[in-house]
């Protein structure tokens, strides 16, 4: 599960810049923190709001309860007045109570429908404002009558019902709540029992309960102790069966706030019991209504979060840019260094760690440069040493050959020739030494070759002829010394040794663009291609020590030229069997100034 995410993160981390990671991390941490804080505050606020709303509902219910209680007590006082001030003191045999009851009714007509007094048998004794009892009515069978007679000590409030006692010319059927009580009356000195009925207008209760502000979709209803609805803002819908209410369950609730789910809706229900009657005021606030308010809050919260995220992204970008600027500068400096720049500024500033890092890199680069200089120096020294070793291979080799010739001449009594040869040898060595310089004019190199040829021609009894020519201006150019002689030596040993006076060696020096070519050609037997290739191969087979023309000379010259002037220079051999051999020496055209530089490098 976490594997792919980790891989994705590692890939993302690898591809991202420090600034990007810092920005993202800062923003993510800040947003998470903000959301966490926001949610904590939001839920805290929600809980507080819920508590406040419940408290508000309870306060509203308490107020309604107060009003309803006052209203009911007013009705009870009215009943008390009718009983104790009018009925109890009167003798029904002598007095008509209608006038007194009329007075009471008139004083409270806003809240009353009728006041009526019935005998124990249900006969109407007095009533107001209507006086004609309907023929069809049997008051003694009505529930308000029987309840009053059953529990004589109490006042009884009925549930709403249609008042059906009196003839009404306007056919008005009013919904009333009946307040009934058992009364004792005097008739001709005798005490008899009866029922006093005060029918309260349903509108009075409605006035108290309606228009109660319990949030936009909240409402309040009133039930009796059994859950029978006394008032409901949508009472007729309930009566018509178009709406249901959870009134029976609410009858079982204790006073306070409750949560209930009814008709698929979660509701906050607050209950308050009305004193004396046992009725219950029930305030209902659907939870959706609460969330409507929260919805607005959530919207506002989202707005704030969104804006903060934008702001954070901006601030974090700037912040991370500021933090990573020295690192990025350091990175650029290192890249410049990688591209070979020598003037790199590592002074990037920034915090201590980055500055320390830049100092370390600068120090490291400096150390590296010194090491590189040392390595170059060591390489140069190594090259020089090698050159010197190669140089040192030439002289003994040639000396051996020449002395071999002098010995041969002396043995044969050719003293003059030996003198000439030794003279040439002396000149030869003078040029070889050249006061220790390895770079000499081509003129001297050719002169050196000439002396060598003189010696060899004498030795080989003029079996070959030799010509040395140089293009104008070439002789004044410079070369490393002792490069022609080893080539001549090979030409003589391999090309002329068996010639019969017709051997011919030509040495020719000429310019080729910026280079100088010295070609040594002979008309000897030539060489097959594989021999030619092996001659310049540094890993080629070496001839036995002391063997004449073993190829050491070729390789020696070739390596010396390359070590001195580079891989573009050196020897090229053109040879075909029976068609002679031409060895071309390619050198850079060095004037005196350039030669001095080489001389310094090589001999410093």
């Amino acid at each position: 599960m976490l594997g792919p995410f980790r891989r994705w993160w590692q890939e993302f981390y690898r591809r991202s810049s420090i600034q990007g990671i810092l920005s993202l991390s800062f923003t993510a941490v800040a947003v998470v923190g903000m959301i966490f804080m926001g949610l904590a505050l939001f839920f805290r606020f929600s809980a507080n709001t819920n508590a406040q709303m419940a408290e508000n509902s309870q306060r509203v219910l308490a107020q309604v309860n107060l009003n309803l209680d006052a209203y009911l007590r007013r009705m009870m006082r009215l009943s008390d007045t009718a009983y104790y001030s009018v009925i109890k003191d009167a003798d029904l045999a002598e007095e008509d109570l209608s006038e007194a009851l009329d007075l009471l009714y008139e004083n409270n007509r806003d809240a009353l429908v009728s006041i009526a007094l019935f005998s124990e048998g249900g006969d109407l004794i007095a009533s107001t404002p209507l006086v004609g009892l309907k023929n069809s009515v049997n008051p003694e069978k009505e529930s308000w009558f029987t309840t009053a007679m059953d529990r004589i000590e109490n006042l009884h409030f009925s549930t709403p019902h249609v008042q059906n006692l009196f003839e009404d010319p306007d056919y008005q059927y009013r919904w009333v709540v009946s307040l009934s009580r058992q009364v004792e009356m005097t008739r001709a000195g005798a005490i008899e029992s009866g029922v006093l009925l005060v029918d309260m207008s349903f509108g009075g209760i409605e006035q108290i309960c309606k228009d109660v502000d319990l949030s936009s979709t909240g409402y309040l209803y009133l039930i009796d102790g059994d859950g029978e609805i006394i008032y409901h803002p949508r009472q007729q819908l309930i009566y018509a069966g178009l709406l249901e209410e959870n009134n029976l369950a609410a009858a079982g609730y204790t006073d306070g706030s409750h949560q209930e789910t009814f008709g698929g809706t979660r509701r906050e229900v607050t209950v308050k019991t009305v004193g004396y009657t046992g009725w219950k005021l029930v305030g209902v606030v659907p939870s959706e209504n609460l969330w409507d308010n929260y919805g607005q809050l959530v919207l506002f919260f989202l707005f704030v979060v969104l804006f903060s995220v934008f702001l954070l992204v901006f601030v974090n970008l700037r912040l991370s840019e500021w933090i990573t600027a020295p690192v990025k500068k350091l990175d650029r400096a290192v890249k410049e260094l990688e591209h070979g720049s020598t003037e790199v500024d590592f002074d990037v500033g920034g915090p201590g760690e980055v500055e320390h890092l830049s100092h370390s890199i600068r120090s490291m680069v400096s150390t590296m440069r010194h090491l590189m200089d040392d390595i170059i120096e060591q390489e140069e020294q190594k090259r020089r040493s090698e050159l010197e070793v190669l140089q040192s291979q030439i002289n003994p080799h040639f000396l051996y050959n020449t002395l071999d010739s002098v010995i041969w001449m002396t043995e044969n009594g050719r003293t003059d020739d030996a003198v000439v040869m030794l003279t040439s040898l002396a000149r030869f060595f003078r040029i070889s030494l050249s006061r220790g310089s390895s770079i000499i004019p081509i003129r001297d190199e050719l002169e050196h070759a000439r002396h060598y040829l003189t010696i060899q021609k004498m030795r080989y009894k003029n079996k070959f002829s030799a010509t040395i020519t140089a293009e104008d201006g070439v002789e004044s150019l410079y070369t490393i010394k002792l490069i022609v002689q080893p080539i001549l030596e090979n030409a003589i040993y391999h090309g002329m040794a068996y010639a019969d006076g017709d051997g011919e060696i030509t040495v020719r020096a000429f310019r080729d663009g910026g280079d100088v070519l010295i070609e040594v050609s002979d008309n000897g037997p030539g060489m097959p291609e594989e021999v030619v290739e092996s001659l310049l191969d540094p890993n080629g087979p070496a001839a036995a020590a002391g063997a004449k023309g073993s190829g050491i000379g070729f390789r020696n010259v070739h390596r010396r030229i390359r070590l001195t002037f580079g891989a573009d220079y050196g020897l090229t051999i053109f040879s075909e069997p029976d068609d002679g051999t031409t060895v071309r020496i390619r050198l850079p055209a060095l004037d005196e100034e350039a030669a001095r530089r080489y001389r310094k490098e090589g001999e410093a």
Partner: protein
């Protein structure tokens, strides 16, 4: 560079836009109340007294469903032609829907068809869905008629005559009730006289004539207005036939209590009004016809009229 511009210019700009939205809009105003739906109610009577409970139901629904009601009465009872004119006028004046209690299905057929093309039309009492009406709220007229026939059997001995009265045209749901009752009564061996009044006729004079001519044992009135007026006539008579009828109103309750009406078949008028408006709003919301189940009804007599359930049925908790 382009990247930098986006992050350093566009991002703050977006942030400012959000701030602007935050300050410029108040979330509380997001849930603005919608415009109310305008519904015209065309009655078939000159005043809405007999429809008061129904009207209360309509008004309750209007309050619940954000509807503006316009209740229109006729200058002469059950004048279908005037209803047709009113229907056309209301549709032309931009009513969102029409609730119609038709006085004559045949006269109104074409007008309803035309109106239904423009706005939804829901009828009460008389089914006009064949003519394009989108809904129909009523009791099952046939069942109600049979019920009335059944209860009238008690008041009319076998072989006696029964007068069936209707103040509304033959082409209405009321007439369907009448036909069903007639079938029941005739099947039970009663002589049935059917009297359907024209708008021009006076019920009182027609009734006097019919009573004198037929001497029926029972009279059955099939709509509220006719029942009320018949009861008023019969209670003045010494030996009046028993009166049965359909409908409920305060006057009918009084006549029932006085014995002028023997029994009524009553529906919950409040519920009928509420459901009619609700059905019309549903049609307007869903753009589809509504098929409502028939309303229930029950038989109320003097003996049980104050039973709690019948109190709720006959006497709306009016304010």
């Amino acid at each position: 560079m382009k990247h930098k511009v986006i992050w350093q210019l566009v991002v703050p700009l977006l942030g400012l836009c959000v701030l602007f939205m935050l300050l410029a809009t108040e979330p509380a105003k997001v849930q603005a109340r919608q415009e109310p739906v305008e519904i015209s109610v065309i009655l078939r009577e000159t005043e809405s007294g007999t429809w008061s409970a129904t009207r209360q139901g309509m008004e309750q629904a209007a309050m619940d469903l954000n509807v503006e009601l316009r209740v229109l009465t006729l200058s002469r009872e059950n004048d279908a032609e005037e209803q047709r004119d009113l229907l056309e006028r209301e549709v032309a004046s931009g009513a969102d829907g029409v609730l119609l209690i038709p006085a004559d299905r045949e006269v109104l057929s074409e007008a309803v068809e035309t109106a239904a093309d423009a706005v939804p039309v829901v009828t009460m009492e008389t089914d006009m869905s064949q003519d394009g009406a989108s809904g129909y709220i009523s009791v099952d007229n046939d069942a109600l008629g049979r019920m009335l026939g059944d209860i009238a059997l008690n008041g009319a001995p076998e072989g006696s005559s029964v007068l069936l009265l209707s103040g509304v045209s033959e082409a209405t749901g009321i007439s369907d009730r009448l036909t069903a009752a007639q079938e029941v009564l005739e099947a039970a061996g009663r002589k049935v006289y059917r009297c359907v009044l024209c708008p021009e006729e006076s019920l009182e004079s027609v009734l006097e004539g019919e009573l004198a001519a037929l001497a029926p044992a029972a009279v059955v009135a099939f709509d509220t207005s006719t029942l009320e007026r018949t009861a008023r006539v019969l209670r003045e008579k010494e030996s009046a036939p028993l009166l049965y009828g359909a409908g409920s109103s305060a006057a009918i309750a009084a006549y029932l209590e006085q014995g002028a009406v023997t029994a009524v078949v009553a529906r919950n008028e409040f519920a009928a009004g509420y459901l009619a408006v609700e059905a019309l709003v549903e049609v307007l919301s869903n753009h589809a016809d509504v098929t409502a189940p028939p309303l229930s009804f029950s038989v109320v007599r003097k003996e049980n009229m104050y039973d709690p359930e019948n109190q709720k049925l006959l006497f709306p908790v009016t304010r």
